[in-house]
Symmetry: C3
Subunit: 273 residues, 3 copies
């Protein structure tokens, strides 16, 4: 059909029909475009979670337009952008860090446009529904082959908000991981999957977790459901990442960690560092 | 591809797979048709809510077939219809008021067909799943270009069930709005958005609300979450309408309003009316 | 477009974006393929529920590829298969009984391939996300016209795991039905719809239910909501099947039935058997 496919990720939820209206706008502006919903259930306003989901997904997505909207600052000073990565992927969304890790994963930003004066914007633009009024018309234009400088004003791609994701590594005999995601229960997902940084714990293994001044013992369990009440455990979450959780309490609070904080893991009782 | 796109709105929910089966029927009867899900989470049997969602969405929808099913009377005497509006839009669904506001918004009904003896109906038609057995085959036929009189028996469009939506207006110095939607918590959404009827309250403003014999003071807040327990507040809901709510109680009950009831708003302490 | 449509049923849920990534893989491997989501809300790991949903839906689905994934044994010894039924339908999924009733309903298995050494598998295949790494690439290949023996190694279709669904019948004056589905509340859906096996109870009728040594009296009600607390009732569920439920208790436990157990229904007070 000669049109690029569009993948679509938001925190809109599906009840109110907002993703459907965006899809309708894309179809109206670029008939026949294939739109693939990744998810519309990113936790509301959780930019980091959306960024991780998009970056995790992008290696599997068809080359095309990646429309992503998690935009707590809608109506405020954050920019609205379209970006082309070195790998030829096109990204559309708010310039708040949501797109950055996926852009990085597909080669880094090669060109970018600011959408604030785009001729494609609805007139008037609503106060809060820029998905419908700005981002979807731009995604549709790119899907039907518009150039980046046709959808907005060229800007320096180096000036985009950058939130390259942390990466776990081995350092001084320990694994230095980071708090990649913290959910509403205080569970902390790490930038660490099985096999990464040589990490391959057996079920039941005990590890020492260091975070700031905290040194805590943690048990590797199969699922979070295997934890005792109040026990700090390490488990693999649904996306395959190791996570730290305390049943019926907050691991983030008990370890006093915030996003991107370093969290070290080593065999329990190991005083090598 | 020469086929009209179909937009699709229901109260089916997604768990049981009913929308998917309807989409499958449309694909079977009209291969390659683009189907855009608006939402399948209209609160069950809430015809008014579905009507508002459809009418809100329709200015953004591509010209084509608008299939909508919220049908508490399925199997009963309400008609099943296909309707063309003066704006050239095609609507398919039960004739219970669900379609009327969107039809009105796209120019009013120009032609209509009764589907009760349509040759497109499944044989037999199930007792409750007319989405699959009646509405989807008709939507598919219209998508592939069938004329309205090929999918059913022509009827007088003036005889369609009419529920044109109320509209807020200024009257005697007050804004006369209406109870457009009442949700399960008793929150009352008004037919009033910011800027309509000159209404543009500041946060923290106090207004007087009159409904029947009730005169109540209401505070304008940013979100419903800003209300005190038991306090009547005015806030903008997710669709951009002003709504009245009482935290942990029912605004509809405390004001004794039902759907379409007039609700007047004026500056608090203003005795001009 | 010359490509077969793909229908898609899983227990993935929609929050984490797993169905979206599978759709993206299908689009990448077979651009322009129509993918129809049936549901991604099969209760987690409930193979039987998924099998019933697929078999219920298949008469309404366009001829094409039916991709279905409810796979509690992922990573274990169960096979991964692609199957062609005598009716020309193609099925892709785990060989754990999920596909069998739908295959049976479309003529029975005519040919099958084992996907364990398929050249289409991702390299490496993840531990748990075979939907993305195995099943979606295979579904995409079949959608674009690959033959069954191109996507895997031919196997004897008679060796597929078989779970043909039970079927209610009349026997000795009673209806011999079966426990087709048992939900998390212990409600038991029967393999019996209105009109099947001549069963057409009036509202308020009392019936005798026999299961093992249990003989219980049950009242036919319109919806489960009409039951008294603790009362065993018979009602039609959302898919049109008769089901047995006890309000605020488990019908399965009170009748001591497990999946596929025979449950007899006859007029109450009838001692003919």
């Amino acid at each position: 059909m000669g049109k690029l496919p569009v993948t679509f990720l938001t925190d809109y939820g599906t009840a109110d029909g907002f993703p459907g209206i965006c899809r309708a706008v894309i179809e109206r502006e670029s008939p026949g475009t294939v739109v693939i919903d990744l998810s519309h259930e990113v936790p509301r306003h959780d930019v980091r979670r959306g960024a991780v989901m998009l970056a995790d997904a992008v290696p599997y997505l068809p080359a095309g337009v990646h429309l992503a909207i998690v935009d707590p600052g809608v109506g405020g000073p954050r920019r609205e952008v379209a970006v082309r990565s070195a790998g030829g992927r096109l990204f559309v969304g708010p310039d708040n860090g949501l797109l950055a890790p996926a852009i990085e994963r597909t080669g880094g930003a090669e060109a970018a446009s600011d959408l604030s004066r785009s001729s494609l914007r609805a007139d008037p633009v609503s106060a809060t529904f820029h998905g419908r009024d700005v981002f979807s018309p731009v995604a549709a234009a790119l899907a039907r082959g518009a150039a980046l400088d046709e959808v907005g004003d060229p800007i320096d791609p180096a000036a985009l908000v950058s939130t390259v994701m942390p990466r776990a590594m081995v350092r001084e005999g320990a694994i230095a991981a980071h708090a990649l995601l913290i959910d509403g229960f205080g569970n902390v997902a790490l930038d660490l999957r099985r096999g990464e940084a040589g990490f391959d714990p057996d079920l039941g293994d005990r590890l020492e977790v260091r975070s700031g001044d905290h040194r805590l013992s943690v048990r590797a369990v199969n699922t979070f459901a295997d934890a005792e009440i109040g026990e700090l455990v390490l488990y693999e979450d649904s996306s395959g990442r190791f996570a730290l959780g305390v049943r019926e309490a907050s691991a983030a609070a008990s370890m006093e960690v915030s996003l991107d904080a370093e969290i070290q893991l080593r065999p329990d009782g190991d005083d090598a560092a």
